[in-house]
C-alpha cells in the first residue's frame, strides 16, 4: 500500500493508483517511509507502508485499536527498527545507536515523568543541559509559563493531574525544539476542559513552526485540529485526504465503517 504526501498548505485528495493511493510530493518530503514493514512474532503490524509527508498543517493518523498507529509513530521516531524498508526524516536515515531521530519529539499516550518536580522534568532535556544553571532554569521556567504550569514548577510531577502531566510532557517535548512533533493519543482519558487545553497547546506548538503528526481516537478532535487525515487499518494505510473530505466521503469501505463505528475489530494479520 502506498500513500504519498499532499502539497504543503493545500490539502487535496491524492489520486488512486492500481495498488493504492499515490501522489508525487512537492520537493523533498519532511518524512518519507518506503516499504516499512514490522513483523514481530510472525504478526504483521506494519505492512510495507509507503508514506511521504511534506509537513503541511497537522496530520492525524486514525484507525481502530490494533491498527498499528502507535507502532508506526514509534517507527517514524526511530524507537522501533523496522524489519524491512526505511524511514527518512528530512532526507536523512536514522543514525546508528538507539537514539531517536534528531529534530523529532514524541509525546506518549501515557508520558513517563520522573520522580521530581515539574521543573526537574524539564531540566533533563539535553538541549538545555549544556546551559549554565541559571539560564537553564530560566529557560525551563519560561517553557512552563508557555504551557500554563509556571505556578506548579515545584510541584511533584507524579502528583499532577492527567491534563497537567500531558502539558508537562508537551513542554518537555517542545523544549527540545523539534521540527516534527509526534503525538500518540495526546488527550486519551482527559476530561473536556483538559482536552481543550492540550488541543490549544498543540495549535500553539504548530503555530511556532513545528510540524505535528498525531494519532487520535477522538474524531471530534481530529476534525478540530487536523488538516489532513490518514486512515490505517491492519498495518496498511488505506485512505488519505483533507480532513473535511475524509469525513464527508471516505474512499474505502473500511474507513466508512470506521467512521460509522461498524468496523469489525481485527488485530494485525499473520505474516
Amino acid at each position: 500500500m502506498r500513500i504519498s504526501g499532499l502539497q504543503e498548505g493545500a490539502p487535496q485528495a491524492p489520486p488512486a493508483t492500481g495498488s493504492g493511493l499515490a501522489l508525487s510530493p512537492a520537493g523533498d518530503p519532511l518524512l518519507s517511509l518506503r516499504a516499512v514493514t514490522f513483523r514481530p512474532a510472525d504478526r504483521t503490524i506494519l505492512d510495507a507502508i509507503d508514506f511521504e509527508w511534506g509537513g503541511a498543517g497537522i496530520c492525524a493518523l486514525i484507525g481502530p485499536n490494533g491498527a498499528g498507529k502507535t507502532v508506526l509513530l514509534r517507527t517514524i521516531h526511530g524507537l522501533i527498527e523496522p524489519d524491512a524498508g526505511e524511514v527518512r526524516f528530512e532526507g536523512r536515515k536514522r543514525p546508528g545507536g538507539d537514539l531517536a531521530f534528531d529534530g523529532q519529539a514524541l509525546v506518549f499516550q501515557h508520558p513517563s515523568l520522573f520522580r521530581g518536580s515539574a521543573l526537574d522534568n524539564l531540566l533533563v532535556v539535553p538541549g538545555i543541559a549544556a546551559l549554565g544553571r541559571r539560564p537553564r532554569r530560566e529557560r525551563a521556567l519560561g517553557m512552563l509559563e508557555r504551557v500554563g504550569l509556571r505556578a506548579l514548577a515545584d510541584a511533584p510531577a507524579l502528583k499532577l493531574s492527567g491534563g497537567e502531566r500531558q502539558r508537562l510532557a508537551l513542554a518537555r517535548a517542545w523544549l527540545t525544539e523539534p521540527r516534527l512533533l509526534l503525538l500518540d493519543e495526546p488527550t486519551a482519558s482527559l476530561d473536556p476542559s483538559a482536552t481543550e487545553q492540550v488541543e490549544q497547546l498543540v495549535r500553539d506548538i504548530h503555530a511556532s513552526g513545528c510540524r505535528v503528526l498525531m494519532t487520535s481516537h477522538n474524531l471530534g478532535q481530529v476534525a478540530r485540529l487536523a488538516d489532513e487525515v490518514v486512515f490505517i487499518h491492519c498495518g496498511s494505510l488505506l485512505d488519505r485526504q483533507a480532513t473535511a473530505a475524509f469525513f464527508g466521503s471516505p474512499r474505502t469501505a473500511e474507513a466508512r465503517q470506521f467512521l460509522q463505528g461498524a468496523l469489525p475489530w481485527q488485530l494485525s494479520t499473520p505474516a
Binding site: 524507537l79 537514539l99 513517563s112 520522573f114 520522580r115 521530581g116 533533563v124 502528583k159
Partner: protein
C-alpha cells in the same frame, strides 16, 4: 548468669567503659568507608549493566548476582592472599590494618550494591527507556537520570550493603587479625569475648550493633517514606 551478663552489659553501655567506644568507632569507620567506596563504584556499575548494551553484559550480570551471596570468609581469604607479603599487593603492607578490612568489606558489599542497583535501574529503564531515547540522552545522562529517579530505592540497596558490612565477621577476622585496639571490630570482638566467656562485653557490643543497624534502617525508611509522600510513588 544471663541476667548478670545483661546487667553488666547495660552498665558498660551506660559508661562506655572498657573498649566499647573504641571498638564501635573503628567498626563504624571501617564499614561506612567500605560502603561509601562500594556505593561510588556500585551505583554507576549497576546502572550501566542495566542500561548499556555491550559484549559480556550478560556475564557481568550473572557475576554480580552470583557474588551477592559470596561467603565472607572466601572474600577474606582472597583479600588475604592479595595483601599477604608474597601476594601482588604485599608491598603495600596493608594486612592486619583497618585498611585491609576496608578493602575486604568493599569487595563484599560492592557486588550486593551493584546487583541490587542493576535490578532497580533495569525496572526504571523499562518505564523510562523510550522517553530517554526519545530525548536523545547519551548513556552517562541516562544513568544519572535513572539513578536520580530511583534514588529512594537505591538507598535501600546501600543500606543492604551497610547491613552486610556491619554484620560480617569472617572477612575482617582473616584480613584484620582481630588485634586489640588495632583491628578489633564489633563482630570479631563479640566472637572473641563469647569464646572467652565475657558475655557482658559481647552482649553490650551486640546491643550496640543491633541498635546501629536498626537505627540506620529506621532513619532511611523514614526519609524514604517522607520523600515518597512528597514526590509520589
Amino acid at each position: 548468669m544471663l541476667s548478670d551478663s545483661f546487667g553488666q552489659a547495660t552498665g558498660l553501655l551506660h559508661t562506655f567503659e572498657g573498649d566499647v567506644l573504641e571498638i564501635v568507632a573503628l567498626s563504624l569507620r571501617v564499614s561506612l568507608t567500605a560502603v561509601a567506596i562500594a556505593t561510588l563504584i556500585g551505583l554507576p556499575l549497576g546502572a550501566l549493566a542495566a542500561v548499556a548494551r555491550f559484549p559480556g553484559r550478560g556475564a557481568l550480570v550473572v557475576l554480580l548476582n552470583s557474588f551477592m551471596g559470596l561467603p565472607a570468609v572466601v572474600v577474606g581469604l582472597a583479600v588475604y592472599l592479595m595483601l599477604s607479603r608474597s601476594g601482588p599487593l604485599g608491598p603495600l603492607g596493608l594486612l592486619f590494618t583497618p585498611s585491609a578490612m576496608i578493602v575486604a568489606q568493599t569487595c563484599l558489599t560492592l557486588p550486593l550494591i551493584a546487583a541490587l542497583t542493576r535490578q532497580i535501574v533495569e525496572d526504571a529503564w523499562r518505564q523510562h527507556g523510550e522517553t530517554l531515547r526519545s530525548l536523545r540522552l547519551p548513556l552517562g545522562s541516562r544513568v544519572y537520570v535513572l539513578l536520580w529517579d530511583c534514588r529512594f530505592s537505591v538507598v535501600a540497596a546501600v543500606l543492604a550493603g551497610l547491613g552486610r558490612a556491619m554484620s560480617e565477621v569472617g572477612a575482617v577476622m582473616i584480613v584484620g587479625g582481630n588485634i586489640d585496639r588495632v583491628t578489633r571490630m564489633m563482630t570479631t570482638a563479640i566472637a572473641l569475648e563469647t569464646s572467652k566467656g565475657d558475655l557482658a562485653l559481647a552482649l553490650a557490643l551486640g546491643i550496640v550493633l543491633m541498635g546501629l543497624v536498626l537505627g540506620l534502617n529506621v532513619v532511611a525508611s523514614g526519609m524514604r517514606t517522607v520523600a515518597m509522600r512528597r514526590y509520589g510513588s
